[in-house]
Amino acid sequence: MNNGERLLPNEKFKFESHVRGDKTVIDLKGIIDEDSHFDSIRKLGGPFIFNFRQLTSINSCGIRSWVNFLKELGRAQVFYEECPPLVVRQMNMVPSFLGTAQVLSVFLPYVCDNCEAEKMLLANTENLNDPSSVKESIPCDSCNKGEMEFDGQPKQYFSFKR
């Protein structure tokens, strides 16, 4: 038996919840795919802040499950925070993945042109209304020689804000 066969559906996706002010914060972990179910999250009641920091993968059926889940939430306020590049990519490709949710923060990926070290900077989206304000490069604190460049095109990266 290989690793895949040991992987039960409910082991691929997990979440933890806690309360912040009047909102329920949901930390999403692992893989969202056709086996992911969000009923137990819905029952917690909103408004919700979904934290995507530890999400590792989402496939096309996972996107559909998530979009249907957002519909089921009805008028509950929804916020996204700490969105890694893989989540930003989905928001840009499939706008209904974002729906009416408000994005609080995203990770900006940088890579060093000298040592190829990678770094994620967390940015509040309210401070990034103009994509050109994204720093194109920052000093590399790994090799202290090179410049870390933004790993992508800022205009494209923030197209979900349109």
């Binding site: 066969e5 893989i31 496939n59 096309s60 559909r64 209904s96 990926p109």
Partner: protein, 246 residues
Amino acid sequence: MQLKAINVKPGDKDKLVTGLFSKKEAAEVIANGCRHIHSSTLGARDACALISREMLERSIQIPFPWELVKDSTLESLRTSRERHALIHSIASGKKITGRRDLKEKMTSVLEELVTNAIYHSYVERDDTPRYPRQKPAVLADSERVDVRYHIVDEGIYLSVSDRGGGLSFSSVSRAFARCYGKRSEAQIEDKEGGAGLGLYMVFETVTHLKFVTVPGVRTEICCWIADKRSFDPDHFSLNFFEWREK
């Protein structure tokens, strides 16, 4: 969907379209039935476009430059659950360590292509899928999905093939028309089975995409994902070749 400034009529399936396009513009051409499109600053003189032209004119198969990989690794799988372990194993390889962007793109593309191959290529006589998407699939003895990959500094070559041959060009063109034409929930199919987003997500992610299908016999989808250092948003292609067994 309306065509913009590109002289392709519905039914021009073997016409080769070259020029400088966005992925959305290219998808409009494909949605109208054109099976071969190359975007490049070199236009019709682009090396890959010249190869497509040669293949269409002479009805022969010639590999594109990005397919010329030595020592690619072949893995075969026969269950839907094996795909996670396979993708994890490739993503954990030494040659992709520290290349976050490439790793994420490879994982996403492979997930969609392998899942499609398992659940959509093997069909019954009435064209209904043999393996329902809602359940784990274990392919029959005569069936399997082959994954071939090769990772180099410039990018990743991936090939996913099945022995079903159930993928039609119309399913590709319909998916593109829906996903690029609508920026709403209508992008997503709400039927049993897939979400209808997979091929759109693959095309958005890769640089070159090639389908080779022998209806009822086999389908191979291969692609090239350029590393960010060699990535050029103006340079991409899609080719859909349908061959008949002689």
